[in-house]
Amino acid sequence: MTELTLDVRDISKRFGDGETGVLAVRDVSLAIEPGEIVLIMGPSGSGKTTLLSMMGALLRPTSGSIHLDGMPISMMSEDRLPDIRLRQIGFIFQDFNLLSALTTLENVSVVAELAGVKGRAARGRAQALLSDLGLGERLDFLPEKLSGGEKQRVAIARALVNDPPLILADEPTANLDSKIGHEIMRLLRAVAKQEGRSVVIVSHDERIRDIADRVLWLEDGALRDIVTMATDPVCGMAIERERAVSAARDGETWYFCSRGCRAEYLGGPTAEAVIEGPAGDRQAADRER
């Protein structure tokens, strides 16, 4: 049996009390193995960030437990959490969150120094990582001089510098164009597969599905069976793909809110084949939600 990197059991998070209270996460359980990439998707406000913050020891669950590499981080004293975050977890953010006063190299080395690595060694480690990520020529640049993709690669180097078993990323590609976003996803995959780290990604980005081993759907704070949304080409309604009726046409699969819409659609000329029922393939017409 493989040791779990992250073992989340029945966690809930409530903000505020009584009438005005919000149950942002409810009874979520999930287990993540070393080297596994898990993508968490879900509508805005569904609790994705709240869940990620709890897994990152930044927020304490109201109930339930979280074990990271066997350590019960949800029960640890406040005092021990910084060290857990520093050594056990690498964070990657949508807006990079690099320190604007530090150079590329310093942004990475300072995190190693926080973990007690001495200046020279810390810089050496940072430089090696940054060079691996293709930033060898950018070591002395300030973040403001870097492109979005470069910034996110610096953030990845920073997340890796203390060699953590778990990487948490909140919308890592949202501020990047699709080509750069793809490159970042490829990097994250390499981080997981070559180095055996677990990676949890929260994203709206459908393209991340390609690199994920597992996709989870969070809605109203709870994990649901995966649903994929599509838009009915006839009436324009957003529909759950798994429950919709569909039809294939011109080599593409289309989803409809009702048989009526499908019939109307197929009324047109070049219909070739008709497939009924839920379909799992992903097509260009898919829309998230």
């Binding site: 910084p82 969150n97 320190l99 300072v110 120094e113």
Partner: protein, 377 residues
């Protein structure tokens, strides 16, 4: 960890050159206020004690209870001279008459220590003659060169002194200060102008090789009744105390003003700098930096600003004192070690106090803000 804190502090400061310059400048000016004022008073004290220091006397013998020169009168019977001379360790003894009086020439008037000096005095005479003679005979006077220049008189000119007139035979230098000047007349003239009584003001003693000034002073007090005898160092210290006592309130007030201004400047700039980087501190916390590392960043920022301000302030005051030395002003800025020490302690306290508010700011930053984008940083 030390390294990370200081690195962050340096970078935070370095990326905000304008703010750094403003804060260092403000601190420097505020601390200079105290430094310069201290230096001026120390300069005055130096000037006031110059005559005592350069008189050549190792021991000053005065009327009992008289411990300094300024604003007091000392009168001793002339017989004291022989009594003192008989004491072991006394090499020479020079009686002088001394009064604080106004001397005048042309339109110029100045407060002066007027010294009645015997012919061939072993001590108590001018120590640096710029022009003319170092000896004063009947009807003659030696005045400070600066006084003569402002008064528009030269060697051979006339000066009103002690209710009579005297002819300038020598111009001394180093004998004028912001508050007074020193003039030398003959002992006989001084005594005559004072009615001819067999009285002296002070007896200036030099001690024999191997004898200690303190020992001789003690022996004199023991053996000669009605006198107070002090070594030159003690006599100077007493004289300095007059300036210190006089200036204590002014210096205290200005020090407080300087302290408050410097504190306000540092506290404000460090606070603003911290606020501006609130999100950075949140990110560092999220990444696993402990609060105390972040506190150290703020403290280091305050300390670096204040240290730089202190250095610039010292440099500024030192340059000012050099500049003043080049002018004709009878003003001297003496930067003393104790003044620098005092201001350095001020500076350290300022840095500590200035860091309190930003530290509380940082303490309250929730690391979970890192995931909240667009949120006010």
């Amino acid at each position: 960890m030390m390294g990370a804190g200081v690195l962050l502090a340096r970078r935070n400061l370095g990326r905000d050159r304008v703010r750094l310059a403003a804060s260092v400048g403000g601190i420097a000016l505020a601390l200079s206020l105290t430094l310069a004022l201290d230096a001026i008073y120390a300069g005055v004290a130096n000037q006031l004690t110059t005559y005592i220091e350069r008189s050549g006397a190792d021991v000053w013998v005065a009327q009992a209870g008289v411990r300094n020169l300024h604003m007091v009168a000392s009168a001793l019977p002339a017989s004291v001279v022989d009594a003192v001379r008989a004491i072991d360790g006394v090499a020479t003894i020079t009686p002088i008459l001394e009064a604080t009086d106004t001397i005048a020439a042309g339109e110029e008037r100045a407060v002066a220590y007027v010294i009645g000096l015997p012919a061939g005095a072993a001590a108590g005479g001018p120590w640096d003659i710029a022009e003319g003679s170092a000896q004063v005979g009947p009807g003659e006077i030696i005045v400070d060169r600066g006084f003569a220049r402002t008064a528009g008189v030269a060697l051979g000119g006339t000066v009103e002194v002690l209710g009579g007139q005297a002819r300038i035979v020598g111009l001394s230098s180093g004998t004028a200060s912001l508050v007074n000047t020193v003039a030398f007349v003959s002992f006989g003239d001084f005594r005559a102008m004072r009615g001819g009584a067999a009285v002296i003001s002070f007896a200036l003693v030099t001690v024999a090789p191997g004898a200690s000034a303190d020992g001789v002073a003690a022996a004199i007090e023991r053996r000669v009744p009605g006198v107070t005898a002090q070594s030159r160092a003690d006599f100077m210290a007493q004289e300095r105390r007059i300036v210190t006592d006089m200036s204590a309130d002014v210096i205290a007030i200005m020090s407080i003003v300087g302290f408050v201004v410097a504190l306000a400047v540092v506290a404000l700039t460090v606070y603003v700098a911290t606020l501006a980087r609130r999100r950075d501190y949140g990110v560092l916390k999220a990444l696993g930096a402990r609060n105390r590392v972040l506190y150290r960043v703020v403290l280091a920022q305050a300390a670096i600003s204040v240290a730089a301000g202190l250095a610039v302030g010292l440099g500024f005051t030192a340059s000012l004192s050099i500049l003043v030395g080049w002018t004709d002003l009878d003003l001297q800025l003496a930067i003393t070690a104790s003044s620098v020490e005092k201001v350095a302690v001020f500076a350290a306290v300022i840095a500590g106090l200035a860091a309190i508010l930003p530290i509380r700011q940082i303490g309250g930053v929730d690391p979970a803000i890192v995931f909240r984008r667009g949120a006010p940083a």
